[in-house]
Symmetry: C2
């Protein structure tokens, strides 16, 4: 089983390879790209313990001069401070313009490493080796990179496309179940906004809440279709001037929930799950989509055992206020992505605060 998807871009296209065991082949994939000799692998302690040596081995065998930079795990370390540690490692290894950073980890490692690559010597190559489901289907593709500001997620960042994305579904075996479910939220998102057939496949699976309950062939299919959706949207709208905004489905309220719980109580995918339920309910209220489709979405989110209610203690007023600082604000109005039927969505800034309040009340 192997899928190769191309992200077509005017400047430099790149491939996403999805294949069991791919971690051991990274060296030869990278050799084809004519990169410089120096490679710095960025990861966190747990992930590096599992897969670091295999990655270092394949890169060394392929002739690269490899070092590693291990950062503490967790969203709360996605900061300018961690970035500084990558810069320091880059300086010690004397990375050159032709050198490459390899991100081995989830979206946190991927986003930070991508941003470090975007800004070291005004831009060096980055290769993404995503290890969480969320990073595989979303964060590792499309070139959005960044770190958090104490008062807002991803406020500091840059667009910087990877030169290669290598996905090894086998590494998901060690991914905690809760993280698997979080990634499933993004997979469901693609079903709702882009790919009705993917949505139906997800409906056909008896369970979606843990890696081991999902057949290997279905997993390969889920990864491939999700990456195709993301690659397609990114190809058409690299810098998010239009179409790409639909990928923010579930993220408007999701981000607010995440930031108000201090990036702790609720993880990213869970917040997106809640955000999709909220956006779905808003769309129903605005008569943009049917109650029936909304129920199908709700059922899928529940099958992934993702939360569909706001975490206790979170104030609705606070959420509405937090939406104002979100990057997706245009001229003071909050922009929402709303589904219109399974497989299609639209973007609007016509959602009033009163409606948001009303819908959030039903999620408490």
């Amino acid at each position: 089983m192997k899928s190769v998807i191309t992200v077509e871009l005017p400047q430099q296209s790149y491939e996403i390879t999805i294949a069991p065991g791919a971690v051991d082949d990274l060296g030869s994939w990278m050799n084809r790209l004519c990169l410089g000799q120096k490679v710095l692998v960025v990861s966190n302690p747990m992930i590096f313990r599992h897969y670091g040596q295999r990655l270092m081995d394949t890169l060394t065998e392929a002739g690269f001069e490899v070092n590693s930079c291990i950062l503490p795990a967790g969203e709360r370390y996605k900061t300018p401070m961690s970035l500084q540690k990558i810069y320091d490692a880059a300086l010690v290894q004397r990375l050159e313009r032709s050198s490459t950073l390899v991100a081995l980890g989830g979206g946190v490692i991927g986003d930070m490493t991508g941003f470090a690559a975007a800004t070291w010597l005004r831009g060096i190559a980055v290769v993404q080796v995503p290890t969480s489901l969320l990073a595989m289907v979303d964060a590792a593709i499309g070139g959005k990179t960044g770190v958090n500001h104490p008062h807002g997620k991803n406020l500091i960042g840059a667009f910087h496309q990877p030169r290669l994305v290598v996905i090894d579904p086998q590494v998901l075996k060690t991914l905690p179940a809760r993280e698997f479910r979080a990634g499933m939220a993004e997979v469901i998102k693609y079903g709702v906004i882009w790919d009705a057939a993917l949505f139906a496949q997800l409906e056909s699976s008896p369970r979606l809440d843990q890696r081991r309950y999902v057949r290997e062939s279905l997993l390969q299919e889920i990864l491939t279709r999700s990456c195709e959706a993301k690659a397609h949207v990114v190809s058409q709208d690299e810098k998010e001037s239009g179409l790409r905004a639909i990928l923010n489905y579930g993220h408007t309220i999701g981000h607010a929930v995440e930031s108000l719980t201090g990036y702790r109580g609720v993880n990213h995918g869970e917040a997106v799950g809640i955000g999709m339920v909220a956006a779905g309910a808003i769309a129903v209220e605005m008569q943009l989509w049917s109650q029936g489709d909304h129920q199908r979405q709700l059922a899928l989110i529940q099958k992934a055992r993702l939360p569909t209610q706001l975490p206790p203690g979170l104030d609705r007023g606070e959420i509405v206020a937090a939406l104002q600082t979100d990057k997706k604000v245009a001229a003071g109005r909050v922009r929402f992505v709303l589904p219109t039927q399974i497989g299609t969505a639209t973007v609007t800034d016509q959602v009033g605060s009163a409606l948001i309040h009303k819908v959030l009340a039903t999620l408490q």
Copy 2:
């Protein structure tokens, strides 16, 4: 007197306007660009005291909602920490994707503000209002932005083109003479590598060391020709994959000298002056250019009262070692820009350490 030069770029071209009194017209220039309402002006205390109010007034009159962020002056504050202060101000003002940063200052303010704009919300607009001669003819044009790492200049950065550059020669009246001379180093650079007519004009001026000894019409001419040179090179090679490298003339050894004196003893332009003398001497040794042209260059650098010798106490071995960490290293070999005749230069990585040592000895 007014000159308008266009920097032609595939993505987004922009104009450089050079006109006495231009500071008071910034609002109307910016209005033509259809930018968002929010503007954050970044400057330092001294410069803002001189020109800040006029800038705030023209922007307010033009209908913008303007705030300011004042950072401490000096190269040693060109750090991730100062960047953080711009980010904080951006957050307080709730800058949106359509908002604009305006850099009012020398190259330090310009580089930091440009980098903050490159990375806030993954990129917002920046307008450069350079106030030092060096920033007018060099730093403000071309989209190189960044901050320093404790162990190397500009190691952290991004390419991010301004939307507009507005140059008011009158602000040079308050520029300290030493800073004027530093900028003159870059002007001489354009004469040597690009524009023999500019070089001849500089030779025709009785003095070049202070603003008040340079006729207004010659100053306008110097600014225009220098900006044209930079704009031309940048248009042909935005990301420095080839031609643009010639702009680093004098900068290879210059950067090493600057960094080894802790960015204090010698300023940027002075370091470039020394670097040009060194590069010229290397070119003579390699029989790439004539002793006669080398002497003409030396005379011009001396007329600008720029140093032509290494600062006392600086070790040659240290300089050669420092060259290795420079961004311009390719596969371990140091790249030099060398003049071939007045108005033309070439790039080479064929300069051995022994020759560098030998030439540096003559500068001590």
